[in-house]
Symmetry: C2
Subunit: 340 residues, 2 copies
Amino acid sequence: MARATIKDIALAANVSPMTVSNVLNGRRAKASDETVERIMVAVRELGYRPNMSARSLVSNASRMVGVVIPFTETQNQLLLDNPFYAEMISGIESALRQNGYYMMLSGVGESNAQLDTLSHWNMDGLIVLGVYREGLYQHLRELDLPTLLIDSYIDDAHFHHLRLDDEAAAYAATSHLIARGHTGIALVTGVIRTSGVIERRLAGYKRALSEAGIGFDAARVLSGSVTFDWGAEAADRLTQLPGVTAAFCTADLIAAGLLAGLHRLGRRIPEDYSVMGFDNLPVSRMVYPALTTVDQSILEKGKLAGDLIARVLRKEAAPRESTTDVRIVERDSVLDRRPK
Amino acid sequence: MARATIKDIALAANVSPMTVSNVLNGRRAKASDETVERIMVAVRELGYRPNMSARSLVSNASRMVGVVIPFTETQNQLLLDNPFYAEMISGIESALRQNGYYMMLSGVGESNAQLDTLSHWNMDGLIVLGVYREGLYQHLRELDLPTLLIDSYIDDAHFHHLRLDDEAAAYAATSHLIARGHTGIALVTGVIRTSGVIERRLAGYKRALSEAGIGFDAARVLSGSVTFDWGAEAADRLTQLPGVTAAFCTADLIAAGLLAGLHRLGRRIPEDYSVMGFDNLPVSRMVYPALTTVDQSILEKGKLAGDLIARVLRKEAAPRESTTDVRIVERDSVLDRRPK
DNA sequence: CCATCTCGGTTTAACGTAAAACCAGCATCT
DNA sequence: AGATGCTGGTTTTACGTTAAACCGAGATGG
C-alpha cells in the first residue's frame, strides 16, 4: 500500500481534503471538535505523513533554511573538520529546529553549483558562514532570499549580518597580555584579506600596543593560514624574533600548532613563551598547557543566527546587524611577568 | 518576474514542455541537436532553475539521502562537536555529491520526530551513524528505505552495514603495547552496551592479553563515556591501579582527557604511563605528547558509505556488510620498555 | 506494396497539497 | 423582513514536473 495522503484521510474521516489540510496546519479554526477528532484518528490509523514536496510546490516555501559553509581548498569537501564550523552548525540547527525550520547544509567551493542545488529546493532563507570570493555574493543577491551572513564584512543592504566586534576582541586579548607584563607580543594569524575579519583583529592588536606605548613592528605579524600546521611552522619564525615573549594567535587551531611547534623546539610554555588563542574551541582545553583564549561562544552565536533568520522569515522586526560578545578565558598558557 | 519554469522554456524554444524535460534530464535521446541548442539557449537566457519539489512530487524520489547522527544527551543538539561525526559526514557528503545525490542531515534524540521530518521529504535512502535505542530501528524498518548503518551491530537483513573489525582493531592495539614490553595494560572506554562496538573491542583486548599469557583483570577496565572529561577523570582511577604502565583508550577524545588528567597529577607521558588512542582524530596530533593511535580513516569510511548507498540506490550489486581496515599510527605517547 | 521500425517529437494525465472563492444554515441586528 | 455576519465546512483550481501513451513522416524489410 502506498503512503496515505490527505485524500485518504479525508475519505476515512468523511470530510473534504481541504478540511484535513486546514486542521493539520492549524489554519482558520474552522472545524468542530468532533471533526478534528475524527481526522486525528484517521491520521493515526493510516499513518499519514505529509508530503513536503507537494506542500512546498503549492505554497512556494519549504520551511528549510540553507546553511552554506566553505569547502576545503584542496579537496572539495565540507569544512566540517574545522570544529569552529561544526559547533556553529550545531547551534544553528538547534535554533532553527526550535523555530520550526529545517536545515539544509551545503558546501561552496570554486563554483556556485552547490548553491544552485540549494535554490532548486526552494529554500526560505540562507545562512552563510565565512568569507568567499565576491562572485558568490553576487550570486546570493540574485537568489533574492533572506540571507544572513556570519563573520563577513560585505557591505550591502541586501544582507543581514551577525558578527563579533573583532577589533575590540583583539584589543582585549592583546591588552590581556600587556597587563601581564608582556611587551614583545607577536600576532600569528591567517591570510589577511582586505575588508575581512583578520584585518580588524590586526587593527585591535595595533591599538592595544599603541595605547600601551609599545611600537608596532610588522616583523612580529606572522601571517599564514588558519591551520594547525601553520601554527607549528610559525614556531620556527617566532623563536627567531628578538624580544618576543608572547604570541596572540587569531585562532585556537593556530595556537595549538604553535604549542606543538614550540614543544618540538624544546621551549617551555608559558615560561619561555606565553600563547593566547581565539575561539575557545574544545581543543583549547585539550592541548598542553590548556590555552588561555578568547571565548566567542560559538554555539550561542549559531543559535542566535538561527533565531535571527527565523525572525526575518516570520517578517518580525530583526536587526540588520547584530554583534555578539566576547570574553577572555584564562587557563595555563599565559605567564604573569609582572614583578611581585 | 517569477522564476522561469519548464513551460517558459518550452515557449521560448518553441517545443513542448515534455521535450524540455527530456533534454534537461538526458532521457531517451529524442531531440535533434538543433532543438537541444535552442532549449539550452532559452535555459541560459531565462535563468531556468529546476524546481525539485515538483520533480520530487511527480517522480516520488528526491535524490536526497538522509544522514542521521545522534543528538547530545543533555541538550537536543547535533553531535557535531564530536569530530568523529564531523569528519565522517564530510566524507559522506563528498561521495554522495559525486554520485549525484544530496545529503540531508538530521539529529535523532529521544523521539523519532526528526526522523519523521526526513521521511516527509521523501528521502531516497538513509545513512545512520552510531547506536540508538531499539525503538529507532523499528521505526527505520517501517520507513522501508534503503538504509546503511555505520558502526552498528543490529542484526537484520533489512539493513546494510559498514563497520570495522572492532575485535581485531583492539587486538592489534593491545598487542602493540604488549610488543613494547607492557604487561599492565588498562582499558579506558565508554559505556559497554550489549551487542555494541565497545563489547567487541573489549573482546579483542582480552584475546591479546590471553595470547600473551597475561591474566585479565576486570579492575583494569575503566568504563565511562566517550568524552574528554571522562578521560581526565579516569586518570585518578588509573593511577590507583598497581602494576599498570599503559592505557588503551577506545577513543582519542578519552585519551586526550587521560593525558590532561595525568599531567594534572604530575605524571609524565610516556615515561610513567603509555597511552594509546583510537580513531586518529585531528586532535590526536594536537595533544602533548602526540598520541599513538589506531587510525580508522574516518573520512575514507564516510566516502565509502556514500558510495555504498549510491550503489544500492542505483540498484547495483552492493554488499550487505562491508568492513574497513585499520592501521596503527605511531607517535610519541607510547614508551618502548623492552630492554635494549 | 504493405508491414514494421525509428526519429523527433506532442498530448494527456497525474503527483499531494493549499489558496481562494464559495455556500448553506442559522443567529443577530435594525 | 431584509440585510448582515458567523460557523463549519466544500469546490475549484493551480503549483512545476514527468510517466505513459500516442502520432506522423520517412526509412527499411521481405
